[in-house]
Point group: C2
DNA sequence: CCGCATCCCCAAGGATACTG
DNA sequence: CAGTATCCTTGGGGATGCGG
């Protein structure tokens, strides 16, 4: 009979940073982009070709987000038809561990659920 | 076998399990629910009270998802007004590490970005 | 108490066309 | 080549009410 037991604000505290992380990795394209860049620096068009199904709009928007969050660095080369290169920052690479964990867990899970035809 | 040079199918391979994982942790409520249950078994209404802002519909739906994925166990007690208890399965608890990583990274990120008023 | 059904809204994302 | 602008679709999720 506790009037308002806000012990669960503790949950919230635990949750916030997790949501932050998911906010960055979430959405449909953030991960594909980050992972694509894991394989080396890329130019815009190049990425669009590699990331299956992404539109220029989305790629542009997501890259901007990632840039703001300092996960990706954008470099403009003053060539004739201007070329732009994207690369993961050191900070962006720090996601490697998180992604690795997600991947490991996902693999395990896939086995488990697929075996009983979800 | 591959007529088109899909070297980036390697990315895809790396990506799939990650997306699987995000599929489960993604959405607005999966994490709040899992984390709430981390703090102990809960009944439906109880969870609804603890997880700020969630509707019965969403709670119900998400719990079902989690149950299908074997992360949560649902137990119905044959009391007069039926009561239902939810708990994390061992498997569900295996997410702890992943969540921990997300949380760690999120904390770090928050510091970094908040310091320059995102 | 538990939770589904219905209706509704909005933001994420897609298609297409256009500029520097 | 590297994007931007515009319009449109979709489905995730909210509000409310009912049924077991």
């Amino acid at each position: 009979m506790t009037p308002t037991p806000k012990d669960h604000s503790e949950c919230t505290r635990n949750l916030l940073p997790v949501k932050d992380a998911l906010d960055i990795l979430g959405g449909k394209w953030k991960l594909p982009i980050i992972i694509a860049l894991t394989f080396g620096n890329k130019r815009f068009k190049e990425m669009q070709r590699e990331i299956n199904g992404i539109t220029a709009k989305m790629l542009s928007k997501e890259l901007k987000d990632l840039e703001v969050n300092q996960l990706v660095k954008r470099t403009v080369y003053d060539t004739v038809p201007v070329s732009v290169e994207y690369e993961l920052t050191t900070y962006g690479k720090s996601l490697h561990k998180v992604i690795g964990e997600l991947r490991t867990w996902g693999l395990q899970h896939r086995k488990k659920v697929l075996s009983k035809a979800e």
